[in-house]
Amino acid sequence: MSKKQQVVSMLVDNNAGVLARISSLFARKGFNIDSLTVSATDDARLSRITITTQGDKQVLDQILSQTGKLVEVRRVVAVDPAASIQRELLLVKVKADQAMRSTVREAAEIYKARVVDLSVESMVVELTGKPSKIDGFLAVISQYEILEMCRTGVTALERGSTVLGQDLDE
């Protein structure tokens, strides 16, 4: 099986150092991290970490079983792209003088991106969406001069009523 994009979602204890443990494990086992997000959950004791990575099934299984051994990792699953919602936020600052503004705005509108800042020389555009949508928009916007940009990395939730960590003890 070939390398492909994998999204791994985990519930971890909200302790100091938990992110270091996970990133240290990925580093020493040679697993890639393409993006990583850490966020609060509805339970103050738990955080959710979402990692996008590359690998075949053997690598994915190793990621899941090695991560699952960490004491502070309560649940870890591979997120099925078909059965989940994945979102990312992009902020991109484009060089745009008065003459260019309308074309940038036009591209943004087609992608349902919003212009959130405007200066004499530049515009900042915000876009939320699937990683592939962000990639598509970036391909278009890169025709202009990008001054700086920032992507948050993927956050993901499974569709339907299943809840990761539902079975966790109180």
Partner: protein, 553 residues
């Protein structure tokens, strides 16, 4: 009851059944040592020459007894000196709890005297680690540390405690100590499927490793292999699980295993890997390892499945529980043709010739093993002597051959032998080392002298770093870069200087004489054995190689 944090530490140690600890005092652990002083009737603390020695001692104690070893060190350099010892225990899944002091919580992060981020340093070499900054968190954290160290796949856990947490008072309620609950197999179907694989096999082979010892499954494994007449090979970590002269024990495999074991792996149609992690020193070429076999794995750790070698079927669970489920369901069968084939190969195995006049390393190992007796615990360092010891140690029971298999830590032996001796009491402990390894941590002889521990150290002195030299001979056209030591250390005098006894042997007779005297001694003894620097560990399959690449001369 309200007591100081340091007293909570000793109370929890006593709760957990700990009566022996190893360590080294210092500023950040003064309170802990004060509590140890108060409880010196219940907990015996052994101070070593160096924190590394203390960590190896706790490890050797754990390997020899099966109990969780405990080591204590101060902040900063005390903690960093433990690192090699903790990593050694981690790689061989040895249960250990390391307690380190740290500076007061108000001084954390201020580059205070003897401050280091122990958590960060030890994160990748522990099963888990903690930093405790409040007295009331000490008891639950330490209890959790013992639970984690001693359950599932065992390993070291570190608890770093700030000085103020050891000084402050908190409530303490005693609790019963941790008792391991073994994990049953995840599902029985997976266990029955193993029977199907076994039923279809004509040339089955068991490959086992240290997991069998960790699970205490040696008797069950013995019963299973004898009921079904399945031969077995083992990694260095599995040494002693089966008696060396058991006809079904084909012995050591891997880089320096006997040819027969490696041939059996090549010829097998089924490999049952039991507590065996397919290290690169055994599965030298993962693509061509056991090329004709289905591989069935039994292991406590799910992350070992498909880690290095593709597995056809796996059962995750405690090895002893899995084998106990299999045993009654297994048909008593024979594999006569297969066993005959293997036994025919065994007659061709390479064994070096004995000598009457000069000391041959394999002969030294055989003699010391025989003279120390089947009950003795042999502890090695790392290198050629370790491999000769693994090949010729002739052990008959588990936990009687202690070696740093995973990390390959030179300098492991003396500390580990001291810990083992403290753990096994009257039983003999023989430390087998080389002149390279022994120079790393020979200072621990002061510990053996202080506690009057009759550990016998046999030094195979070839005046070179033999294993590296052997690789330089085989693969670097005899460019002996930095491996010709030719040190003039007088081991007899050094031993005497430390208050121990030293002997030197140049012939088999001299060695037997020295060994006889050493066995009667009340304190530590060294025996320096002068061997030829061109001795090689054979056979050898180079890294990444297969049976076809085996070196025999």
């Amino acid at each position: 009851m309200r007591i100081r944090g340091a007293d909570v530490i000793t109370e929890v140690l006593i709760e957990q059944g700990v009566d022996t600890v190893f360590g080294y005092p210092g500023g950040a652990v003064l309170e802990i040592y004060d509590a140890l002083y108060k409880h010196r009737g219940e907990i015996t603390h052994h101070i070593t020459a160096h924190e590394q020695g203390a960590a190896h001692a706790a490890d050797g104690f754990a390997r020899a007894t099966g109990k969780t070893g405990v080591v204590i060190a101060t902040s900063g350099p005390g903690a960093t000196n433990l690192v090699t010892g903790i990593a050694t225990a981690y790689m061989d899944s040895v249960p250990m709890v390391a307690i380190t002091g740290n500076v007061g919580s108000g001084l954390i992060g201020k580059d205070s005297f003897q401050e280091v981020y122990t958590m960060g340093i030890t994160m990748p070499i522990t099963k888990h680690n903690y930093m405790v900054q409040r007295a009331e968190d000490i008891a639950p954290t330490l209890r959790e540390a013992f639970r984690i160290a001693g359950s599932g796949r065992k390993g070291p856990v570190l608890v770093d405690i700030t000085k103020d947490a050891t000084i402050n008072e908190c409530d303490y309620l005693p609790q019963p100590g941790f008792v391991e609950e073994k994990a049953p197999p995840e599902n029985d179907e997976a266990v029955w499927e193993v029977l199907n694989y076994m039923g279809r096999s004509r040339r089955p082979l068991i490959c086992f490793g240290g997991g069998v010892i960790a699970s205490g499954a040696n008797d069950t494994l013995y019963a299973l292999m004898h009921k079904a007449q399945i031969p077995a090979v083992h990694s260095i970590m599995g040494t002693g699980v089966l008696s060396w002269d058991d006809p079904l024990n084909i012995g050591l495999v891997g880089m320096h295993g006997f040819a027969t074991g490696n041939r059996a792996i090549d010829a097998a149609d089924l490999v049952l890997a039991i507590g065996f992690r397919f290290s690169d020193r055994v599965a030298l070429n993962v693509g061509r390892w056991a090329p004709n076999a289905k591989i069935v794995q039994i292991d406590i750790d799910p992350s070992e499945v498909n880690k290095n070698v593709h597995i056809d079927h796996a059962v995750v669970g405690d090895i002893d529980l899995v084998l106990k489920k299999l045993l009654p369901m297994l048909e008593a069968t024979g594999h006569e043709a297969w066993l005959d084939e293997i036994n025919a190969w065994r007659r061709d195995d390479y064994h070096p010739a004995d000598s009457r006049t000069e000391l041959k390393p394999h002969q030294v190992i055989k003699t010391l093993a025989e003279m120390a007796g089947p009950d003795a615990v042999l502890v090695t360092d790392v290198g050629q002597h370790q491999m000769w010891a693994a090949q010729y140690c002739r052990r008959v029971k588990p936990r009687s051959f202690l070696t740093s298999g995973g990390l390959g830590t030179m300098g492991f032996g003396y500390g580990a032998a001291i810990g083992a001796k403290v753990g096994v009491g009257e039983r003999r402990v023989v430390h087998i080392t080389g002149d390279g390894c022994f120079h790393m941590n020979m200072n621990e002889v002061c510990t053996a002298v202080t506690y009057n521990l009759p550990v016998i150290t046999v030094i195979l002195n070839n005046s070179v770093l033999g294993m590296v030299r052997q690789w330089q001979h085989s693969f670097y056209e005899d460019r002996f870069s930095s491996t010709t030591l030719d040190r003039v250390t007088d081991y007899v005098k050094v031993a005497e200087g430390f208050g121990a006894t030293g002997y030197r042997a140049k012939t088999p007779d001299e060695f037997a004489d020295a060994m006889e005297k050493a066995l009667l001694a009340e304190g530590p003894v060294w025996i320096e054995c002068l061997i030829d620097r061109n001795e090689q560990v054979l056979p050898m399959i180079p890294a990444g190689g297969t049976l076809d690449d085996m070196i025999l001369e």
